[in-house]
């Protein structure tokens, strides 16, 4: 597909937000968390603070709730730190997981130094070689929308790479801390899945 202009991460996120429905969404450490939460605020979003762990946390969710779509919004710097998550994703093959990587070629939140993708490392190629059959680059916005729709409507593990500019969109700060994020997320899963996850025990004097 021919591309007229480079993609912006924020535009890609807008496309995902339209299609995401009730999917649980895990966002990597960095600005993608703020931009995503500006577009689709809510308690079904989980923000990752450990660089690299986005794909792994999303895999755990996908394995735990195999009938619920889970979307990982990852970055190149993050995935490069946890490349071994790709063979594990391929091995477990969760059909409800869509792993999207925004590749801007830099450690954006850490001062803009180049990542290895800036010198030719091909993350989609690595994902495919790791054993993920549906691993594709989206080269422009239309193509990105088409692949995301196919992935979210399908029943197959998807890995989608999108080369984006380093541009950040000005959005509000993320309003809650890690522990509140955890509780809100779990309560959201309890409510939407109609399950009890956090149980409060009776005091010893009542048992």
């Amino acid at each position: 597909m021919k591309c007229e202009a480079q993609m912006k991460r924020f535009d890609c996120l807008r496309t995902i937000a339209v299609a995401a429905a009730d999917a649980l969404v895990v966002t990597s450490a960095g600005a993608v968390t703020l931009e995503w939460n500006a577009l689709r605020p809510g308690d079904g979003n989980f923000r990752v603070r450990t660089l690299g762990l986005c794909s792994s946390i999303a895999l755990g969710m996908a394995l735990g709730l195999p009938y619920r779509k889970v979307i990982a919004l990852d970055g190149d710097g993050s995935l490069l730190m946890n490349l071994c998550s790709l063979p594990t994703l391929a091995r477990m093959r969760p059909k409800n997981l869509v792993h999207i990587v925004f590749d801007n070629g830099v450690y954006e939140a850490s001062g803009g130094k180049k990542t290895a993708t800036a010198t030719g490392t091909d993350l989609v190629g690595i994902a495919r070689a790791a054993g993920i059959a549906q691993a594709r680059w989206a080269h422009c916005e239309d193509e990105f929308g088409t692949i995301v729709t196919e992935a979210l409507n399908g029943q197959e593990l998807f890995f989608i790479g999108a080369k984006v500019t380093t541009e950040r969109t000005k959005v509000p700060p993320y309003p809650i801390d890690e522990v509140e994020n955890k509780y809100r997320f779990i309560r959201h899963v309890e409510k939407t899945e109609n399950v009890a996850i956090l149980k409060t025990n009776l005091p010893a004097s009542y048992t």
Binding site: T50, G52, G60, L63, G64, C84, T88, R91, E193
Partner: protein, 173 residues
């Protein structure tokens, strides 16, 4: 207990404590235990490439209602430290860590790892217990699972060779 009996006792203890997702990376001393995990269709087994990803997988599964355990060597525990600090501790997420105690007294090759294991766990504020008697394993695992859920912090169980039925246990250890 033979190695196989010890492995079955430990694994049954995990199941009795409600564990239903286990992330693992092999060590020769853990081979029988991992065999038990792999053979059980009711437990989701996630074989890892590196232990740190297992911390993320268990954290994600916990957030959607799974009860998880991670089984690794202490070298894998060292590999996992950033995830333990900035995911488990920072978000107050419980996790049962079953760590093979390489370099324990009399265990050759990794004595440096052995000498660092408990000090690092202590520095992280992770409560830990050295397991030596296989018959006690189910009760100790049950108690550790209560502790990790209640404290919302990881709890580490250090698995020794005698626990795993790979050498005789001593009365004084």
């Amino acid at each position: 207990m033979t190695e196989e009996e010890a492995a079955k006792t430990i694994f049954n203890g995990l199941k009795a404590a409600g564990i239903n997702l286990v992330a693992t990376l092999p060590d020769i001393n853990l081979a029988q235990l991992l065999q038990q995990v792999e053979a059980d269709p009711d437990v989701i087994h996630v074989p890892l490439c590196r232990e740190e990803e297992g911390i993320g997988i268990c954290a994600g599964a916990y957030l959607v209602g799974k009860k998880c355990a991670a089984i690794m060597q202490n070298g894998g525990f060292f590999n996992s430290n950033n995830a333990i600090v900035t995911t488990l501790l920072q978000y107050q997420i419980p996790l049962l860590l079953l760590i093979y105690y390489a370099g324990d007294i009399g265990d050759r090759t990794f004595s440096t790892s052995g000498s660092m294991t408990e000090p690092v766990l202590q520095a992280l504020g992770i409560r830990h217990y050295v397991m030596r008697e296989p018959a006690d394993a189910p009760e100790l695992i049950k108690r550790a699972q209560i502790l990790t859920e209640d404290s919302r912090r990881p709890v580490a169980l250090l698995l020794t060779k005698e626990l795993l039925g790979r050498r005789a246990s001593l009365k004084s250890l």
